[in-house]
């Protein structure tokens, strides 16, 4: 993989806040592609390789992936203050907008067309989430034990409606132990 153009290491706190502020309101149902465009293509704060590494770490850890990414990038560029500023910048406007929307929505939520639009958006968005699950399952589809762990997780959470804490406390160590045992 190419390391791309040279990276500018001197990023001010203000620039960090502003950059993530714009990323935050750029996408719907996920803003990761916009984070990539801002960080790698426009402002060149990260190389393609650095972005990929930060992304894989942010997906590996619990928590909202894009928030984890803002912590990693903010920390690298400006330490603790950078991590805080990038995260607050990312979430500030979306949070304000969604709470304003919700307050307005409460005024009109009894209107049939509004209720209907919500049902339509939910139905389509459910299909999008199912498609994400199918795409994520592709890398493990030829490994029957891993498919079995996915199936047991699905049965426990979706069908039996068991609490997430207990499901993860049992299944995560088993699945990690299996991966450790089968390590190349």
């Amino acid at each position: 993989m190419s390391d791309g153009p040279p990276v500018s290491p001197n990023v001010s706190i203000g620039a960090l806040f502003w950059g993530f502020l714009i990323v935050g309101v750029s996408g719907f149902g996920g803003v990761m592609p916009f984070a990539h465009r801002m960080l790698v293509e426009h402002r060149r704060w990260l190389t393609e390789r650095e972005f990929t590494e930060a992304l894989s770490l942010s997906q590996f850890l619990p928590g909202p992936n894009i928030v984890n990414l803002s912590v990693i990038v903010g920390r690298r560029l400006q330490g603790t203050a950078g991590a805080i500023v990038a995260t607050v910048g990312l979430l500030l406007l979306p949070l304000v907008i969604v709470l304003v929307l919700a307050t307005l929505f409460a005024q009109v939520s009894h209107v049939d067309a509004v209720r209907g639009a919500c049902s339509g958006v939910s139905a389509a968005a459910s299909g999008l989430i199912l498609s994400v699950a199918v795409k994520m399952a592709r890398p493990i589809r030829r490994t029957p034990p891993q498919l079995a762990f996915a199936a047991v997780t699905f049965a426990a959470i979706a069908l039996l409606r068991l609490p997430l804490l207990w499901v993860l406390a049992v299944l995560a160590p088993l699945s990690i132990g299996f991966a450790w045992w089968k390590r190349p």
Binding site: G29, G127, Q146, P163, W180
Partner: protein
Amino acid sequence: MINPVLFELTLQFLMLSLLSIGGANAIIPEMHLRAVDVKHWMTDADFSQMFALSQAAPGPNVLIVSLIGWKVAGVTGGVVSMAAMCIPSFVLTYQIARAWDRFRDAPLRIAIERGLAPVTVGLILSSGYVLTRTTDHGAMAYALTGATLVLALATRIHPLWALAVGAGLGAAGLV
């Protein structure tokens, strides 16, 4: 005196922050279980509406957390839930990022990543299933979910189009 509902919301999301392997979408079934079935804070229809709003607003998909909080305890609930959802994972990510260069190629990290992958698949699939069961009433809604699934897998169509078509069909009373 501390509002007991706010306190409970905070505790819930502080815990879910560290359980959300695969991001905010992975904890949708648990949020639904807690908010609808266990605590009776809202109905299926309310939950479905909060999910729709979170998708229709710009920003990361973790916004569903602030809307659950808002539905239960107003604007304060929304802000507090979002903070509780982000602070524990913030601290963990910050600490791990410091040690990442040493940790990156460790066999244990690779085993953790490989082991968590199938669990994450199961969680996201559960979210899709629970959302479909919660939000879809009738053949048209199931058809819309199925069509979106197929289109998202088979084409490179922008997801916003699916949401816009869904909103249009729904507003016309067809879903």
